[in-house]
């Protein structure tokens, strides 16, 4: 099984299998279009549905890891075909609704967490694009207001019978990704007061969960740091800190590392784009650095970890 292989072999086999699976799906699509003359979106969606079902059946029947992974990619290809067929026929709103339905139906049926993550991410991206048509720039705020608390809840609450990690990760990453990439230069300042307050409330809530394991003085110092960061950073940065805090609180190493990387990205971008002269930036960096080192000294009481 995959778990017994070194990670680079498992990763290589997965990548090879996904290439094979996705290209097979693409070849089926091309053949259907050119040989059978199936050109309209609805037929393409139906074909996608058939491919998805076949992929689902195959993953349950086949034991070989490579073929299982390839079939997982075929399911994804089929799901893409369903959604993009609907998009071609009925537009973005229906495509977003379909992607949500496809993700909801396939999530418990498949076993691969990568596929689950991609399906939820696709649904979130298309929902974001559909909302943007109606709400313009406020679409980001709506997505963040819904996805952040849901993501935190799915991370902390007992999971149902199905692994909720891909769902919670996709929900938690939606805000930083949309804030950092999709919405361009608005990213640094976006996220109004409500979003900032919600991000801060979630962050403080997660910190309070750890009150039994942190001294009160450290908890106050961390809460004040969180408040300053939430005030200064865009919504994506607060979400990144929330991911980091969730990973730390739960003891989830992967989540903590993802949170640390995304937080690093937002901090770097913030210092790069903040409207200050280089000299003032240097004072600001030194001041924040000294404050963080003071918190570190307070936590360790002179360098010794308690």
């Amino acid at each position: 099984m995959m778990e017994n292989r070194p990670w680079y072999i498992a990763a290589s086999l997965s990548i090879l299998a996904w290439i094979a699976g996705l290209l097979t799906t693409a070849a089926i699509g091309v053949a259907a279009r050119e040989i059978l003359g199936l050109a309209d979106g609805l037929t393409f969606s139906i074909l996608g549905g058939v491919v998805t079902v076949l992929g689902l059946i195959a993953t349950r029947q086949i034991k070989a890891v490579f073929l299982q992974e390839a079939c997982t990619a075929v399911i994804l290809g089929g799901a893409f075909a369903i959604v993009f067929g609907i998009h071609a026929e009925f537009g973005m709103d229906m495509a977003a609704l379909t992607s949500l339905a496809v993700a909801a139906v396939l999530y418990p049926l498949v076993n691969a967490n990568t596929l689950r993550f991609v399906l939820v991410s696709m649904a979130l991206i298309l929902t974001g694009l559909a909302l943007e048509n109606h709400l313009q720039t406020y679409a980001f705020d709506v997505i963040a207001l819904v996805s952040l608390p849901l993501g935190a809840a799915f991370t902390l609450l007992p999971p149902p019978k199905v692994d909720a990690r891909p769902l919670s990760l996709a929900l938690l990453l939606a805000t930083p990704v949309l804030s950092g990439i999709s919405f361009g230069t608005r990213a640094v300042t976006q996220g109004g007061g409500v979003l900032t307050l919600m991000g801060l409330a979630l962050l403080l809530g997660v910190l309070i969960l750890m009150r039994r394991h942190i001294r009160l003085s450290v908890l106050i110092a961390l809460s004040l740091s969180a408040a300053v960061a939430a005030w200064a950073l865009p919504a994506g940065g607060t979400a990144a800190l929330l991911i980091l805090a969730l990973g730390w609180t739960k003891g989830d190493r992967a989540l903590a590392i993802i949170g640390a990387i995304v937080t690093g990205y937002f901090l770097t971008r913030y210092y790069g784009e903040v409207d200050l002269s280089l000299l003032h930036k240097s004072f600001m960096l030194c001041a924040v650095g000294l404050a963080l080192l003071a918190t570190w000294a307070l936590t360790t009481r002179g360098g010794r970890v308690r």
């Binding site: 292989r5 070194p6 680079y8 072999i9 290589s12 086999l13 090879l16 299998a17 290439i19 094979a20 290209l23 097979t24 693409a26 070849a27 091309v30 053949a31 279009r33 050119e34 490579f66 902390l156 609450l157 007992p158 999971p159 019978k161 692994d163 394991h213 730390w248 739960k250 003891g251 989830d252 903590a256 640390a260 210092y271 002269s277 280089l278 000299l279 930036k281 240097s282 004072f283 600001m284 960096l285 030194c286 001041a287 924040v288 650095g289 000294l290 404050a291 963080l292 080192l293 918190t295 570190w296 936590t299 360790t300 970890v305 308690r306």
Partner: protein, 322 residues
């Protein structure tokens, strides 16, 4: 973290099997959490973040006042830090982590000093001069360091320098051929790889980590595949005469990593290198024979064939069949 204790995955698995009710889930998560290790993680992260801020602040302060600092001051400042770092590294000894870390820092500072020198005096030197001079200057340290990070740094700089030379002096002025230069770079890397494998087999402990050799093998295979793709994508059929160069490189990589004792990482790189090479050849041949949608289907068939055979070979190797 402590391996003997219940992990988060165990808690999750118990919850999936309904062995854990919703009420006791969070308590189980907290019991599984290695509190001391996470406290150290948090404290170290805080220290790293604080130091990074402070260091960035100091660098930004110098950047803000860069124009006001005289040329001698700029070079003296970096040179002073470089000398102190190198001397401290040698004083601490290169058999200690701190000594090696300081020697790596000193090697990086050599590059910074050269870049600042070039910026102040506008020497007119090309970018590859910087990288190649940098490698030559740190070469004695690389040799005595017996540290893989130093070797990776030196080789990266050498390859980068040679690539920039290939682009600037060879491709632009037409004094030599890109493919000849690429062949030389591949041969250089392959030579280092063979030496590294040989030294490791002789018991050089510092060469034991797999990642630097796998990285170098990846670079060799990447260069071979890139060269093959460039040759095969060219409209000039006369270029095919250079195709044996990447072929021989991959064959030598196969010879190097066929013995089991050299591990699976280099073997994996070699298999994927061949898969890309053979796919590129097959695609070129097909593009001559078919076009339009049958070409796309044939493309998919090639991809499925090469990926499936690569997976088969890797699995067979893991099972000990080859």
């Amino acid at each position: 973290m402590d391996k003997a204790r219940t992990t988060l995955s165990d808690v999750r698995a118990r919850r999936m099997k309904s062995e854990l009710d919703a009420k006791s889930y969070w308590n189980a998560v907290q019991e599984a959490r290695a509190h001391d290790a996470w406290r150290r993680w948090g404290v170290n992260a805080l220290l790293a973040l604080g130091l990074a801020h402070l260091l960035a602040g100091v660098i930004t302060f110098f950047a803000a006042n860069w124009q006001a600092i005289p040329a001698f001051g700029k070079l003296g400042l970096i040179g002073g830090v470089l000398i102190i770092t190198a001397l401290t590294a040698l004083r601490l000894g290169l058999d200690r982590i701190a000594g090696q870390a300081l020697l790596i820092s000193a090697s990086v500072l050599v590059g910074v000093w050269l870049a600042v020198f070039g910026q102040i005096y506008q020497t007119g030197a090309d970018a590859y001069d910087l990288f190649l001079t940098w490698v030559v200057l740190i070469a004695p340290w690389v040799v005595i360091s017996r540290n893989v990070v130093m070797w990776v740094l030196a080789l990266t700089l050498a390859i980068l320098g040679l690539w920039l030379y290939t682009y600037q002096d060879v491709t632009l002025t037409g004094r030599a051929n890109f493919k000849e230069m690429n062949t030389a770079i591949m041969a250089l890397q392959l030579g280092f790889l063979a030496i590294a494998e040989g030294l490791r087999e002789r018991g050089e402990d510092w060469l034991r980590p797999t990642w630097p050799r796998a990285l170098l093998a990846l670079s060799v295979a990447g260069h071979a595949d890139y060269m093959a793709i460039r040759i095969l994508a060219s409209a000039d059929l006369g270029q095919v005469i250079m195709l044996p160069a990447p072929f021989i490189t991959l064959a030598l990589l196969t010879w190097l990593y066929w013995p089991r004792a050299r591990g699976i990482a280099g073997f994996t790189v070699m298999v994927i290198g061949w898969a890309v090479f053979l796919s590129a050849c097959a695609i070129r041949l097909l593009s001559e024979a078919v076009e339009g949608w049958p070409f796309i289907i044939a493309l998919a068939a090639i991809a499925v064939l090469t990926t499936a055979s690569s997976a088969y070979v890797l699995n067979a190797r893991l099972k000990g069949a080859i």
